[in-house]
């Protein structure tokens, strides 16, 4: 891009910030249509049980209760699920996790709805819960679904790992135990339903893809698509956790049955019990490298606990497999993975989407190998970093811009890494008496993250762009805004491309009734996909302006550009003319559809991706060896998102990603005991606070332009989180000489590990070195 950018990469303010700081923005949980009924859902208290009967008589007698619905009231297909529809809208025969819905109560008040829900009598026959994924895979395990308990499995080989290990100077083998993680968006799942002015059954809620919500609602209600409208624009956080159906079908069902508007807001307990989570995963890695630091072999096995239903468990496992070797070149690979049904809650999409689990594994291994051959961990990573033209772990060619090496080099030049020797010793802020007991360490991790849905899945993005006679622009794109700043990014891109000030741009999003299908708001794809679609739309708009100018003003053929100003003008082959004069009263609308480019090879199940974003994180930790307390003191994020669209938004995403990475490393785990969830609110599921996240987070944009991206941009919304966790684990080994392989690493684990490490303790090494 030769021309200097006017808008992009600057500290642009969010379009919605003012409405959010005044409390004026209306979220799904704030909506309240006139004459609405409140809903409450009856959920299974059992992780696994047969439903013998549901008696609604007492509930129907509760004053204020208007309607109680059970499985037999679902008029269409009583099932939902993004990939496979294996979850009942309301369970009629069997419940498979604590939180599974059995009935919905509609009442005149929330109190009456809850009283009604408490009065629904469900006769359960509890069944033995299936809680161990390894055991669940065996043929003698009770099957949770007709096809058995293995939802999905994948196996890939490249080269010959046995040969790779024979050639290796060092072979490292470890098993990592990664917990289930809750998204913990601050707004729980919520929404309202009603018949709109065209008589469409409308659900205004919190989904991440309104067009798919529309399909899922219509299927369950047995209605044609055009009779259903789904809305979901401004939402209080999602992170993948609102990708699957949550409240939508229950809302639609009750409006369908009562004819009245309805409202449903999940309690935090319900939200944690019911919604999808990050897969708890057992990860086994064996990796080998040469004496001079060439990565030679990666062998891995993933067993992901997908919980009760499919949702996106298959695709999440696929991304684990695809990212098994991280952003590194390796000749020999063998990877096996299983996504397994159990009665432990329900897993699905979550920021990182499987890359997270693979990244903890491979990045821990990379550090262990670097340590064993006494090589600098960043130098070791750089030596093996993938380049364009290399063959990736699953044996396809890396075709587009690969930013792995650039982010590693950026980290090497960063303040934290360059000053590492001094940083480790800097205990000035620690009281003198404690200093002998406080250890500091630095760790690094690199990461790549597939962008978009991968090959074989429809991945298109349609937008509509309207230009009014006064020079105001409206972009209609159905993606949602849950905090990432997407709508502001769209406005900034439009302002950059057309000569339109940002304040004259309006974004209409998340509504099947108003905006064309722009695809899912997931997979780090929206800025890239909508950006490309809007660029196509802008080109069409200019062609249309030129055509109109030729037709109405007699200009020679050719496109005409917009020129901003108090009275916007168009400029083209015939000179300049007032926009208002050219358009008259009628706004000009164009549409465009962009298809995310895909790889040339197809490995099945959406694999592989063509596009990836890259990142390298450096984390500095301080550990009090007396209490076991870990504090993350500093993080540097070197992120390759190509051209930065919004500088403040880029940093903000990164800083939020750091906090979530800290949570995954040190705090968070959804815990179960025989399928029963023990952590159902924020008093037991503990999140990082302002005291747990360092103020010293530095985000460095590493601009490796993606040739297919809008201005060379790609997404960073996942890369910014995934590498943080292993960087912290690597920093802990640097500080303590202890390798933690089980998350989260809490103070108790630190104290236990230090006790084992002490003389007489039983710390074991599992690194084999040739000749030793």
């Amino acid at each position: 891009m030769a021309r200097a950018l006017k808008v992009l990469g600057k500290r642009t303010r969010r379009l919605d910030a003012e409405a959010k700081v005044t409390g004026a923005l209306v979220y799904p949980s704030d909506k309240a249509p006139d004459d609405m009924l409140w809903l409450a859902v009856v959920r299974s208290p059992h992780p696994h049980a047969r439903v013998l009967g549901v008696d609604c008589a007492a509930a129907e007698a509760v004053p204020g209760v208007v309607r109680v619905a059970t499985a037999r009231d679902v008029p269409g297909e009583n099932a939902f699920g993004i990939a496979i529809q294996d979850q009942p809208v309301l369970c009629g025969e069997r419940v498979r996790y604590q939180g599974d819905a059995v009935a919905v109560v509609a009442a005149e008040s929330l109190r009456a709805a809850r009283a009604g829900a408490a009065a629904v009598r469900v006769d359960y026959e509890p069944l033995e819960p299936v809680v161990e994924p390894e055991a669940a895979m065996r043929p003698d395990s009770p099957a949770l679904h007709p096809g058995g308990n293995i939802l999905h499995q994948g196996h890939f080989t490249k080269g010959d790992v046995a040969e790779g290990f024979r050639q290796s100077h060092v072979v490292v083998e470890r098993e990592y135990d990664l917990p289930m993680m809750e998204h913990a968006y601050l707004e729980t799942e919520a929404g309202v339903s009603f018949y709109d002015e065209l008589g469409r059954l409308t659900v205004d809620s919190c989904g991440q893809y309104v067009y798919r919500d529309q399909t899922q609602i219509a299927r369950a209600l047995g209605l044609p698509l055009e009779r259903v409208r789904a809305i979901g624009a401004h939402v209080g956080g999602a992170f993948g956790g609102k990708d699957e159906i949550t409240v939508q079908i229950h809302l639609a069902l009750m409006t369908h049955l009562t004819g009245r508007p309805c409202k449903l807001v999940l309690t935090r307990e319900e939200s944690i019990l019911f919604s999808t989570k990050r897969h708890a995963t057992r990860v086994r890695y064996k990796t080998g490298c040469s004496r001079d630091g060439r990565l030679l072999a990666v062998e891995a096995r993933f067993v992901a606990d997908t919980g009760a239903y499919a949702s996106l468990g298959g695709p999440v496992l696929n991304l684990m497999l695809e990212h098994v070797a991280g952003p590194y070149r390796v000749p020999h690979v063998k990877v096996d993975g299983f996504a397994v049904y159990t009665n432990n809650g329900f897993a699905g999409a979550f920021r990182g989407f499987g890359c997270t689990q693979a990244c903890v594994g491979i990045e821990s291994q990379m550090d262990l190998m670097a340590r064993a051959i006494r090589m600098d961990p960043l130098a070791f990573r750089l030596k093996n970093a993938l380049q364009t033209g290399d063959r990736a772990a699953l044996d396809y060619e890396m075709k587009t811009a690969v930013g792995a090496a650039a982010t590693i080099r950026s980290a090497q030049k960063g303040k934290l890494w360059r000053g590492r020797a001094a940083w480790r010793k800097d205990l000035r802020k620690v009281p003198a008496a404690l200093r002998p007991h406080v250890k500091r360490g630095l760790g690094v991790a690199s990461q790549m993250q597939g962008m978009g849905l991968g090959i074989g899945l429809p991945d298109y993005c349609e937008v509509a762009l309207e230009l009014g006679p006064a020079g105001d622009c409206t972009l209609r794109a159905s993606t949602s805004e849950f905090g990432q700043g997407a709508y502001t990014a769209y406005a900034a891109m439009l302002a950059e491309r057309l000569d339109v000030p940002m304040e004259r741009v309006r974004i209409v999003g998340g509504d099947t009734g108003l905006a064309p299908d722009s695809g899912t708001t997931t997979a780090s794809r929206t800025t890239y996909a909508v950006g490309n679609a809007l660029l196509m739309a802008c080109e069409r708009l200019e062609a249309e302006l030129g055509r109109l100018a030729a037709e109405r003003l007699g200009w020679p053929a050719g496109p005409a550009r917009l020129r901003a100003g108090r009275e916007p003008r168009v400029q083209g082959a015939g000179g300049q003319a007032a926009l208002a004069g050219l358009l008259g009263q009628t706004p000009l609308e164009v549409r465009a559809t962009y298809h995310i480019p895909v790889a040339e090879v197809e490995l099945g199940d959406g694999l592989p991706h063509l596009l990836y974003s890259y990142g390298t994180h450096v984390a500095g930790v301080e550990v009090d060896t007396l209490t076991g307390e870990i504090t993350v003191q500093a993080v540097e994020a070197h992120l390759d998102g190509g051209q930065v669209i919004l500088r403040t938004g880029f940093e903000g995403q990164s800083e939020g990603g750091v906090a979530q990475g800290i949570g995954y490393a040190l705090f968070e785990a959804v815990e179960f005991e025989r399928g029963r969830c023990l952590t159902t609110n924020f008093n037991t599921y503990v999140l990082p606070t302002s005291l747990d996240v360092p103020t010293a987070i530095r985000t460095v944009p590493v601009v490796v332009r993606e040739p297919t991206g809008p201005w060379g941009a790609k997404g960073i919304s996942e890369t910014c989180m995934v590498g943080v966790t292993p960087a912290i684990l690597n920093a802990l080994e640097d500080a303590l000489g202890v390798r933690f392989t089980r998350l989260p690493v809490r103070a108790e684990a630190v104290l236990r590990a230090l006790a084992e490490q002490a003389p007489g303790g039983r710390a074991g090494a599992r690194t084999r070195r040739k000749g030793s």
């Binding site: 500290r11 303010r13 969010r14 919605d16 910030a17 003012e18 409405a19 959010k20 700081v21 005044t22 409390g23 004026a24 923005l25 209306v26 979220y27 949980s29 704030d30 109190r111 998204h183 913990a184 968006y185 601050l186 707004e187 729980t188 939402v235 209080g236 956080g237 992170f239 807001v265 309690t267 935090r268 849950f482 905090g483 990432q484 700043g485 403040t648 938004g649 940093e651 903000g652 990164s654 800083e655 939020g656 990603g657 750091v658 906090a659 979530q660 609110n681 924020f682 008093n683 999140l687 606070t689 302002s690 005291l691 996240v693 103020t695 987070i697």
Partner: protein, 161 residues
């Protein structure tokens, strides 16, 4: 049995008929229609429902409406009377302290309370003052920066806004 409760809500005298077990957050959101105050967890852990009750920062999910009888309740809607943003709100906008925004109203109330407590807060005091409010999007960095900016500005003006 409903109970009558008198509140001075963002400066205006209001009267509500409430249930004996009704929490202040319900009254504010459902009866007064002030949905700027959010409900995030219902157990006083997330701070999304933070309001000032007679000048004291509280979780409105942990206070019964009846307990607030005769009290002054100050919510996010009270920060910008007449639509003019307060210095804190402006700083949140300028610094990019807002992402999904669901924690923002509570965060603003906590920030307001801490700035009333500490005229010249240290970084540590700011982080302490916000530690009862969870944010899942921002990593807190820009929120802390926004509060620091306001603290400096107010100090420079001798405590005036």
């Amino acid at each position: 049995m409903a109970v009558s409760v008198n509140l001075k809500l963002n400066g205006a005298a209001c009267r509500f008929e409430v249930e004996p077990d009704e929490r202040l957050v319900e009254t504010v959101r459902e009866k007064a229609g002030l949905t700027g105050t959010k409900l995030g967890c219902g157990v006083g852990e997330c701070g999304a429902c933070s309001v000032l009750l007679d000048g004291k920062l509280v979780c409105a999910c942990l206070v019964l409406a009846a307990q607030a009888d005769g009290c002054e309740v100050f919510t996010v809607e009270g920060l910008a009377p007449g639509g003019r943003l307060s210095d804190l709100q402006r700083a949140f906008v300028e610094e990019g302290a807002v992402q999904c925004g669901y924690c923002t109203p509570g965060m603003l109330m906590a920030a307001e309370a801490l700035l009333r407590r500490h005229k010249r807060p240290t970084g540590e005091q700011i982080r302490q003052g916000l530690a009862g409010n969870l944010c899942r999007c921002t990593g807190y960095t820009k929120i802390v920066a926004a509060v620091r900016k306001v603290a400096k500005r107010r100090a420079a003006r001798g405590g005036r806004r």
